[in-house]
């Protein structure tokens, strides 16, 4: 199934593909893989979720941010390609004593698991700051054919 078919089947609408803001590109195809640049919780040019996750009270914001960030990763990919997630790297703008990082990214991981049958191999870390104070950033490697 193509990415576009998977997204449509899930009843999802992807945000407009974020246009890189400097001398880099959003996605590179190399050999059998797609490398997607770090994306954030954006809607077009607008940042939707920003700020640090410090306490459990911020968890909902983190969840919204991770879900939207995952959609932005997918928005970079040609919808006609048949892709599967390989490696996902997630940075959560997190306070130094916030440890529920798995919970913070759960909606994103579940989204990928539902769409592709498995979410790929994930690495999740807390970052002391992120560009433009975005709440989450994700980069990814997909395989395609």
């Amino acid at each position: 199934m193509t990415l576009g078919e998977r997204v449509a089947k899930a009843g999802l609408v992807l945000p407009p593909a974020f246009a890189p803001v400097a001398n880099y590109v959003g996605i590179v195809r190399a050999s059998a893989h797609l490398h997607v640049s770090g994306m954030g919780p954006t809607q077009g040019k607008a940042i939707v979720e920003s700020g640090r996750i410090a306490t459990a009270a911020d968890l909902d914001k983190a969840k919204r941010a991770s879900h939207l960030t995952a959609l932005n990763l997918l928005a970079q990919i040609d919808a006609d390609l048949r892709v599967r997630p390989v490696k996902i790297f997630v940075l959560v703008n997190a306070g130094s004593d916030f440890t529920a990082l798995d919970d913070a990214v759960e909606p994103a991981r579940t989204l990928f698991a539902d769409l592709f049958g498995h979410p790929g191999a994930w690495t999740i870390v807390g970052a002391p700051a992120l560009p433009f104070a975005i709440t989450t950033e994700m980069e990814a490697i997909f395989s395609y054919n």
């Binding site: 059998a32 130094s96 798995d102 870390v125 807390g126």
Partner: protein, 155 residues
Amino acid sequence: MTGTIDARLKQLGIELPPGSAPAANYVPYVVTGKLVFIAGQISQKDGKPEFLGKLGREFGVAEGQQAARLCALSILSHLKTAAGGDLDKVVRCVRLGGFVNATPEFTDHPAVINGASDMIVEIFGDKGKHARAAVGTSSLPRGVAVEIDAIFELA
């Protein structure tokens, strides 16, 4: 049949933990072509997070290295599953990504991740020599001290 690497593990007194079973929305590794990408492994023992705290606060380098070794053990356990149970199919370790839960002032991240790198090279010899990144983070899942992910090449 016991393979060369299995024999080496025994010689070093290293016992691999059982690999955690994939859950609905978690997989420990993905094989693509000849590469296996292993998800970030937190320091844990017997399925429970181990070394809860930060380098530069709760822990020093020696403890961080022990945490890194625990991460490496989990990585090797998943690697073995990915290789169909035969670690002799490992062509090389390509890369380790090491993340250290540290205070802003702590700067010995590479020494901490050496706990994992040294173990991989002890086991695999030249095939274990890998590219690596070692960085500090503001926090890690479940509050552990170290998390490491990996890429290996299989035959």
